[in-house]
């Protein structure tokens, strides 16, 4: 998957998700004669256990994954950057508290905390966004804090301080532009892990509720009919893997393009805290 293929996959994903409401889709239409029918019988990508067309549900699932990933990544990047940057800039007891908070959040492995939160808040797409955001902001906070700490004593920042610039002005104009690139790279990998996270929660029955569709819930439905209708698992899984793969490739490329320091020092520091890129679920 080199060249334009990842871009094509991503464009298709976003287009399908955005254009969904205007497409002639019937994701909830039940065709009894096509129950569990494979693609070569029912046409399209086949039908599920209720005779609903998988292609239409796939598009609906694309919408779910795009909405959730944009929402979660946007919220957690905003929250995390704010908390991390302020903590790194001001230091003191507030910084120590933030570091401790980050450590506690990182002590919950992978998406375990998200599973527990989603389970306790109850199913539903908004609770998925809340749960994944509560888990997700930490990464951005840690990154933003580390970046700000390393920039704090740069000459141009010292000059701004000496000129009497206020905190907000320095953070906005002298620091934020410099920490943008690594945050964008982090957010790109974040999209991949949120897609997998949402699908994982939906797979466990903690995400979208029927009849809404998510790639995860489609896979969950399919596992009951593996022997008679393997296409029910293969179709949504392939779609999800392709999109996640494309996002990961895009992230790799962005990292090279934006020249984010991935040298030995950073890789080792990142490795000490948490393996990168996205946690497998």
């Amino acid at each position: 998957m080199r060249g334009g293929l990842p871009a094509l996959v991503l464009v298709l994903w976003v287009l399908a998700a955005l254009a969904g409401p205007w497409l002639p889709l019937h994701p909830d239409a039940i065709h009894l004669e096509h129950i569990l029918a494979p693609p070569w019988v029912a046409g399209g990508l086949g039908c599920d256990d209720l005779g609903r067309p998988l292609l239409d549900r796939l598009v609906l699932g694309a919408r779910t994954s795009l909405l959730v990933s944009v929402g979660v990544v946007g919220l957690s990047a905003l929250l995390g950057t704010l908390v991390g940057a302020l903590s790194g800039w001001f230091g003191g007891w507030w910084d120590r508290l933030t570091v401790h908070l980050i450590d506690v959040f990182l002590a919950f492995p992978g998406i375990l905390l998200a599973i527990a939160l989603a389970g306790i808040l109850g199913p539903g797409i908004d609770n998925v966004v809340i749960a994944l955001t509560i888990v997700g902001w930490v990464g951005y906070a840690r990154l933003a804090r580390a970046q700000v700490l390393s920039l704090r004593s740069r000459e141009h920042v010292l000059a701004a301080v000496a000129l009497g610039a206020g905190h907000a002005r320095i953070l906005r104009w002298h620091i934020l532009p410099l920490i943008g690139a690594p945050l964008i790279v982090e957010a790109t990998f974040g999209v991949a892990s949120v897609i997998v996270g949402e699908a994982g929660l939906s797979f466990l029955g903690l995400g979208v509720q029927p009849p809404a569709a998510s790639w995860g819930s489609m896979i969950r439905d399919g596992t009951r009919y593996l022997l008679v209708a393997p296409h029910m698992v293969i179709v949504p899984g392939t779609a999800m893997a392709l999109v996640v793969l494309a996002v990961n490739l895009l992230g790799d490329r962005l990292r090279d393009r934006l020249d984010v320091r991935q040298g030995p020092a950073r890789a080792r520091a990142a490795g000490r805290r948490r393996a990168k890129p996205a946690d497998p679920v």
């Binding site: 450590d103 506690v104 992978g110 375990l112 599973i115 466990l204 698992v233 890789a267 497998p280 679920v281």
Partner: protein
């Protein structure tokens, strides 16, 4: 060597803080239930007497600090309360499930190591070549394919089409193969990537050039000279991955109906048996913290650079 003692003390103190934070967070989870937790657990139709009984049983009628105190006292005695679902002591329920999860995690770790080491080393030794591209493609695929799709696909191929292995459950050694493969390949993907970059980094060092100049073979250089130094960061990643292994086990156990702590977590969420959910999350997280602390300590003892100047 006062440095070692100081390092150990610092490390243990920060671990104690994190453990305290985790315990309090888990304790607070139950208070995140929107509305009245008792309503959520019993449903709308429960009688007032039942609600009162459950509220007293959970201690929800007392002030928060007192509840926390009660919770901590229980923890100190390994008394986690009783399950709301089958009324057995939670500690006993957990004890029943731990061996299955430990077995799966161990098997998953073996799969990870068996795949990641040859792959990472080969990729580094032949950087830029076909092996390298193949290994990195595998790694990218492994990172992009989540457990809950990998698992069903493995079942499809190896259980349903080929009929080699059981579909699910825990019966005999054959039944651990597919869950372990599911867990292991995902982790091997990350670990092999990490190992490759770590070995490549070490291969650029002066002492490797010296070894080459001495006329040592590539294999000798890789195994005797490069690997020991390259292993340090890899060990840390491995420690972190054990946590991913435990969290990944929640989904993998669900896919394969593997009767471990992960499946118990999901079952308890479905039963709205929140005290058990809390206990499972606590157990898994504390195991993770413990493993990471041990990894860090081992790392610090092996590598004096970490011990001395660990920026906090």
């Amino acid at each position: 060597m006062g440095g070692v003692t100081g390092f150990l003390l610092r490390r243990l103190a920060s671990t104690a803080l994190v453990v305290a934070g985790v315990v309090v967070t888990v304790f607070l989870l139950i208070h995140l239930i929107p509305g009245d937790p008792v309503d959520v657990m019993l449903g709308e139709t429960a009688s007032a007497a039942d609600r009162g009984a459950l509220r007293t049983a959970l201690g929800l009628d007392r002030p928060l600090p007192e509840q926390l105190g009660h919770y901590l006292r229980g923890l100190a005695h390994l008394d986690l309360g009783r399950s709301l679902y089958d009324h057995r002591p939670i500690a006993a329920v957990l004890a029943e499930r731990i061996p299955a999860t430990a077995e799966l995690a161990g098997a998953g770790l073996v799969v990870t190591l068996v795949i990641a080491f040859p792959l990472g080393l080969l990729a580094a030794a032949r950087a830029g070549g076909g092996w390298d591209r193949g290994a990195m493609t595998f790694s990218l695929l492994g990172v992009s394919i989540p457990n809950f799709w990998m698992g069903p696909m493995l079942i499809l191929v190896f259980s349903l089409w080929l009929g080699w292995l059981p579909v699910s459950g825990r019966s005999g050694p054959a039944s651990v193969v597919l869950p372990a493969l599911t867990l292991g390949t995902a982790l091997a993907a990350i670990l092999s990537r990490m190992l490759r970059s770590s070995v490549l980094e070490v291969l650029g060092e002066d002492y490797i050039r010296t070894a080459r100049a001495k006329g040592l073979s590539t294999r000798q250089i890789l195994v005797r000279h490069a690997l020991p130094n390259a292993l340090l960061p890899v060990i840390t990643v491995l420690g972190l991955q054990l946590g991913t292994l435990l969290a990944g086990a929640v989904i993998t156990e669900t896919v394969f109906s593997w009767p471990g702590v992960g499946l118990l977590t999901i079952e308890s969420i479905q039963h709205r048996d929140y005290p058990v959910v809390q206990a499972c999350v606590l157990l898994i997280s504390l195991t993770y913290v413990l493993v990471n602390t041990l990894t860090d300590i081992v790392y610090g003892l092996v590598d004096p650079r970490i011990r001395r100047g660990r920026p906090r």
